[in-house]
């Protein structure tokens, strides 16, 4: 605390600082004054004027007034000395008169000097005061002097400016009134400070808020010194009060900033530490203690306290790292685990910095620690999640891909892609390569989809975009794939990524196809069954009138025979009617036999025998068509499992078709060739005719129900054949070329 008084040694300097009235004239005046002083002494000694000569000293003194203070002193002394010396000169008058005269002159001279000095002092003080006031103004402070006995207080005149008050009104007067202006929160502190003053410890410095007339507060810094009487009672208080509102705000800001830092440190859960390298002495903040799980009372304040809590697996690494930081002065930056007394493990991140001393060696290490357990757990969870994702992505039977629209590249493709395609995914830019594998029929659609995917062009708000298509695997198999892609959007709605799954749906597609086929077969079977029932009913209905006709004809014949003379033609006509009725009945019976549903009777069948039998039974048909049948049956053909009657139906049907197909041909060209041969797992039967063959369209429709090339056919023969062959696990197909006849082949699996 500095002394409140002004050092007296400073005062001459301050006085000197004031220049004489005419500084440039000083040397001239000094010279003139010396000459005048010498002239006055000469006049005094040698002039006849006697004592009156003393008067000449007076102008010298007056002239000296413009000289600086020291010169003036010297001149005054010199004049006095010379005047005293003049006494020694014998004169005519009485010495007493001379002394009085000289005394009067010298007194006048000294009066002038003293007056001049006072004037100068006054001037200097005034200037000093002015400067002081200016300085105080600049420093926003005022001085005060408070007499506690009278409670009168004097404040320097700029006090009122500082507080915006009228001079010598509110701010002067009783000192205790000033307390009213002090902020209530600070008053106690001020009073306490003043109460603590003692004769030994008599200075103080205090900061408080002081009200302005407008109600705002100024923050002031007051330094003061107390004076005590001999009984130890404070009698005076002297000091200076400075308005530090601006500075205080800065300090407040700094303090707040520190506070904020502290808050931030607290909020961030940062524990701080400080270690002296030389001693290993360690300081931990409260938070640090909490982070380390060390109760404050157990903390010994050494490096070992730190190492003790570190997880054994991390301890060595951290110790090494800490040593290196100390030795090399590099930052300490580590993540490690600590074990709390309860056994729980916590992850901490530590950052330490070396503080070097004047000699450049590391003196201290300071740093912070933060709990990163959650982050570590999150990281672990993320790793686990990612591992799980990868596991899923790499093991599901779907190719999973992530494509970045912005980067125009694939971020991820699961290994299944390669499995599905048969080769690794081509570069995303190479659309042609991507399309190469796509089935030609689907290529155009796929190209469009690829463009959409790569450009992130997804309809807004969609759930996802699906597409199906076929790809050709390098092994030649065609696979159906299903691609379902989703857009991952940024907040503004633009597509950032495309995520998709590609699935092999070949089996599904095949199942679908099979289902469709089954449905068709069912529909077909239903038609056939309906037809069967219809035919069955029809046969019955037709048989009734046929039977009636037969009955009538027979009764006619019987009645006619009872007559004597019946022309033979009449009887033969009646016989013809009977024959026709039987023919019609046979047709109906055959029709029914083809479509009637009955349980197949399975047994091992020699297909060659079946064929031979059918041909034998059809001899009359073959003969009627004027055709020849050639059998080319493989010997020792394995038996097939099935219903021999149904097989016979198939062969018979094919034979009839072949015969019908050749009616237009010349008689010698009507050949039916029935061939059997053994396949790996089946017996193949083919029935070949030499008819005109079929057009492509007809060949395709051949097996469709109610399709016929015959003028009077029903279009069911081959349909029934197909049903029967398929029921036996075989297949049937036709090969035909226009003008080269038709070959229908069917297979039956070997049992």
């Amino acid at each position: 605390m500095t002394q409140g008084t002004i050092d007296p040694a400073l005062v001459p300097g301050l006085v000197e600082a004031f220049p004489p009235l005419f500084p440039r004239a000083v040397p001239a005046v000094r010279g003139v004054s010396i000459v005048l002083l010498a002239a006055a002494f000469a006049a005094d000694v040698f002039s006849p004027w006697g004592t009156a000569a003393v008067a000449v000293y007076a102008p010298v003194a007056l002239l000296a007034m413009v000289l600086p203070w020291r010169d003036m002193q010297w001149f005054a002394l010199a004049a006095t000395a010379l005047a005293a010396l003049g006494l020694l000169v014998p004169r005519g008058e009485a010495v007493a008169v001379d002394v009085v005269q000289r005394g009067a002159v010298l007194a006048t001279l000294w009066l002038i000097v003293v007056f001049s000095h006072a004037l100068r002092a006054q001037q200097t003080l005034s200037q000093l005061h002015k400067r002081l006031a200016q300085a105080m103004d600049v420093g926003s402070c005022f001085a005060f002097d408070w007499c506690l006995k009278t409670d009168r207080v004097f404040r320097s005149f700029n006090a009122h400016r500082m507080f915006g008050t009228e001079p010598h009104t509110e701010m002067s007067g009783l000192g205790k009134q000033f307390f009213n202006r002090i902020h209530p929160d600070d008053l106690a502190q001020l009073k306490e400070t003043l109460d603590r003053l003692t004769p030994v410890n008599n200075t103080y410095r205090v900061t408080f808020r002081c009200a302005r007339p407008d109600g705002t507060y100024s923050v002031v810094d007051e330094c003061g010194e107390a004076f005590f009487d001999n009984r130890g009672r404070m009698e005076r208080l002297l000091g200076m009060t400075a308005d530090v509102t601006g500075r205080y705000s800065a300090e407040e800001a700094l303090r707040q900033s520190e506070e904020r830092l502290r808050l931030a440190v607290d909020a961030a859960g940062l524990g701080t530490w400080d270690m002296k390298v030389a001693t290993g002495e360690l300081q931990w903040s409260e938070r640090q203690l909490a982070l380390m799980g060390v109760p404050p009372e157990k903390f010994g304040g050494t490096r070992d306290d730190f190492l003790a809590v570190i997880h054994p697996e991390d301890r060595n690494r951290i110790e090494q790292s800490a040593w290196r930081s100390q030795r090399e002065g590099v930052d300490f930056r580590e993540e490690f685990r600590v074990v709390w007394p309860d056994g729980s493990v916590h992850w901490l991140a530590g950052l330490g910095r070396a503080i070097r001393g004047a000699d450049g060696s590391v003196q201290r290490m300071v740093g912070v620690n933060v709990d990163i357990t959650q982050r570590k757990e999150a990281e672990a969870a993320l790793r686990e999640s990612e591992a799980r994702f990868r596991e899923i992505a790499e093991n599901i039977d779907q190719a999973f891909y992530v494509y970045s629209v912005a980067e125009q590249r694939r971020l991820y493709v699961s290994p299944y892609f390669e499995k599905l395609w048969g080769y690794p995914p081509p570069p995303e830019t190479d659309v042609a390569a991507s399309l190469k594998a796509v089935h030609p029929d689907d290529r155009e659609a796929a190209a469009e989809k690829l463009r959409q995917r790569f450009s992130g062009n997804f309809p807004a708000g969609d759930e996802g975009d699906e597409t199906e298509g076929r790809i050709i695997h390098p092994d030649g198999s065609v696979r159906w794939i299903h691609d379902r892609a989703f857009a991952v959007r940024r907040p503004d709605g633009t597509v950032e990524r495309v995520v998709g799954f590609i699935q092999d749906i070949t089996a599904l597609k095949e199942a679908e196809q099979r289902t469709r086929q089954l449905e068709a077969e069912l529909a077909h079977a239903t038609r056939v069954s309906t037809l069967g029932e219809m035919t069955s009913g029809l046969a019955h209905e037709l048989n009734q009138p046929l039977a009636a006709i037969e009955n009538y004809v027979t009764s006619c014949r019987v009645l006619l025979q009872q007559l004597i003379d019946v022309p033979g033609r009449v009887l033969s006509n009646l016989d013809a009617v009977t024959q026709e009725v039987q023919r019609a009945a046979a047709i109906i019976r055959r029709l029914r036999e083809f479509v009637i549903r009955r349980e197949p009777h399975h047994s091992s069948v020699n297909i060659n025998r079946v064929i031979e039998e059918v041909v034998r039974l059809s001899r009359s048909d073959i003969w009627q068509h004027g055709a020849q049948v050639r059998l080319d049956l493989a010997p020792e053909l394995p038996l097939v499992q099935g219903d021999s009657i149904q097989m016979a139906q198939v062969v018979l049907n094919l034979l009839r078709n072949a015969l019908d197909a050749m009616d237009e041909e010349e008689a010698e060209r009507r050949w039916v060739t029935i061939t059997t041969r053994r396949d790996e797992s089946a017996v193949e039967v083919s029935v070949q005719d030499t008819g005109s063959g079929l057009t492509g369209a007809a060949a395709q429709q051949l097996f469709e129900p109610f399709f016929t090339t015959k003028a009077h056919g029903m279009g069911l023969g081959l349909t029934i054949c197909q049903t029967l062959v398929q029921a036996h696990g075989g297949r049937i197909w036709a090969e035909s070329q226009p003008s080269h006849g038709t070959t229908v082949r069917f297979t039956l699996p070997i049992c």
Binding site: H540, N543, Q544, A547, A548, N551, T554, V558, T578, Q582
Partner: protein, 210 residues
């Protein structure tokens, strides 16, 4: 004794009519019925003749009618007609006593032949039934003891054996035999045996009532 009649049962009027005409052409009596039930309601056990029966009839089928007739002891030979051949039904029907099973449309001549055959068969059955009835009546006259002896005779056992088995004296058996021959109104023992065997063949061995 009424004239033999051909009973024709078919639900198809045209068929029924044509059959009637056909059968009438050989001067036979005909009765037509359009359902099995109608015939069943009208027929009595004393009717002679044969039946032409359609297998497929609305309501009671031909086979069912056949069963009903048997239960009621009406033994008319049946010629079954069927719209379509059904071997199993045909076999079953013939086992039950149908004489033929013809598939429509069948030859009219064949049908007439079968009708005549059936009528003959019907007569035979009728005569046989009469014989059986006579035998049954006469058997009723026998006492228990006489019946037991008769059984032994029919089985071809010597009198001694019969006597021994029944615990009778030879003379008693002899006496009973004489009474049996008298009661059964036969001239000789072989005739007696033939009658009884025929009876046993067609009739269930009914419990003899004294």
């Amino acid at each position: 004794m009424t004239e033999p009649t051909v009973f024709i049962i078919d639900d198809d009027p045209g068929m029924l009519q044509s059959l009637a005409v056909l059968v009438q052409s050989i001067s036979l009596n005909v009765e037509t019925y359009s359902s099995a039930q109608a015939f069943l309601d009208a027929v009595t056990p004393d009717r002679r003749g044969c039946m032409i029966l359609d297998l497929r009839l609305p309501g009671m089928s031909g086979r069912e009618l056949q069963t009903h007739l048997q239960q009621r002891g009406i033994h008319l030979p049946i010629i079954f007609l069927s719209g379509h051949g059904d071997i199993e039904t045909a076999v079953a029907a013939i086992k039950e006593g149908a004489i033929d099973f013809l598939e429509k449309p069948c030859s009219g001549q064949r049908l007439l032949d079968q009708v005549q055959a059936a009528l003959r068969l019907g007569d035979e059955w009728r005569q046989r039934d009469q014989r059986l009835n006579t035998v049954r009546e006469r058997l009723q006259r026998l006492s228990q003891g006489e019946y037991e002896v008769l059984q032994g005779i029919v089985a071809g056992k010597p009198y001694k054996t019969i006597a021994k088995e029944l615990g009778l004296s030879y003379k008693t058996v002899e006496a009973r035999r004489a009474r049996i021959v008298k009661k059964m109104e036969v001239d000789s023992l072989p005739e007696l045996i033939r009658l009884v065997l025929e009876y046993q063949m067609y009739e269930q061995p009914a419990e003899h009532k004294v």
